[in-house]
Assembly symmetry: C2
Homo-oligomer: 209 residues x 2
């Protein structure tokens, strides 16, 4: 089957809107993160080589390397969300006629739920990284395209808040509360500063328009 | 040339990241809005026909009609941003050898700048509408996919804040300050309640996880 990233925007939106279970919000979160990384790269690419911005040439080179690596990671996460969802659905479809089958099915579900908690948590971490890269683009990028740094931070922030919801849902279904609590604590650490940081970067951009 | 919506997600992201001027943040804003509308439709499609949600069947039908119309509008805006950018670039390329040419060129630029202010303003309005539709999905949608209503509101909010930056940049270059002030006042009206409303809807979803 064709991977989502190879489908057209129109097909992606049509499938997102439909009653088919995937792609869903988890893929949308990863796409927003990837889009944020792409916009940071755009700001870098339109700053590099300009005599007026010679002073930040090295910073922009380093930023571009980071944003392009992050874009690849986040683009891969569009599919990762679908894969773990399908795995989870396969577990729910396991036989449950006998007590042994029931126990095995439940254990399998719990095992995949760990992965279904970690996949959006990794997406949240990558989106938080995209917010941090947006700050550098907003602070040092070409003023002619500075609004794109503002779009980058909002896109990354929306991806982060979206991924967070998916971590919370799946963590809530985990019986291994110690594991769940570790993951929720990691998420909480990321979220604590995100609202304030995203707004601060957005205001840096607004101040330069 | 192939329209952006018919390109793959991978190609869209590659072109966004590149040094080519379009697509840029304006198209990204419209895509986030369209994605939000699609997620509202998904919540509707996965609520409709479920006996447990029979009570909200009519509400969900009405919501789906609105979200699908809005999705079409916002998908069209992905291209509208590119079109107006290209028009503006064509104006900047007009001859300016004589005083008459200079005056004509400047008048043309100012004329297209009006459109370049209105296009993102329309996108901002459509994203604000997507936020409003997300509230209904969050309040009445199937609890099994309620997180998608949360992703919808964040996607719409990021689209709105992104479009707002493009309104402000282009309005700043307008010499017709009366026109600019009217458009900025319209934007301000939309933005005033957006932060609070998006966060309120997000919290409704969180409370239902």
């Amino acid at each position: 089957m064709e991977e989502i990233k190879d489908k057209s925007l129109q097909t992606y939106l049509d499938e997102l809107a439909s009653k088919q279970p995937t792609p869903g919000g988890g893929s949308a979160a990863a796409l927003m993160g990837a889009q944020a990384a792409a916009l940071v790269s755009m700001v870098c690419n339109l700053t590099l080589g300009k005599p007026k911005y010679a002073e930040v040439e090295a910073d922009m080179q380093a930023l571009l390397a980071e944003s392009e690596a992050l874009r690849e990671t986040l683009t891969g996460m569009i599919k990762a969300d679908v894969d773990v969802f399908n795995k989870l659905m396969a577990c729910y479809g396991l036989p449950k006629a006998t007590d042994e089958e029931k126990a095995q099915r439940s254990a399998q579900i719990q095992w995949v739920l760990r992965e279904a908690t970690e996949v959006p948590l990794e997406c949240a971490k990558a989106c938080a990284k995209a917010i941090a890269l947006s700050r550098i683009a907003a602070e040092k990028g070409n003023l002619g395209v500075i609004s794109d740094a503002g779009v980058a931070v909002m896109s990354a922030y929306a991806g982060l808040k979206s991924a967070a919801l998916n971590v919370e849902i799946n963590a809530a279904s985990l019986k291994d509360r110690a594991f769940a609590d570790v993951k929720l604590a990691e998420l909480n650490t990321i979220m604590q500063t995100a609202d304030h940081e995203a707004e601060a970067i957005y205001q840096i951009v607004k101040g330069k328009l």
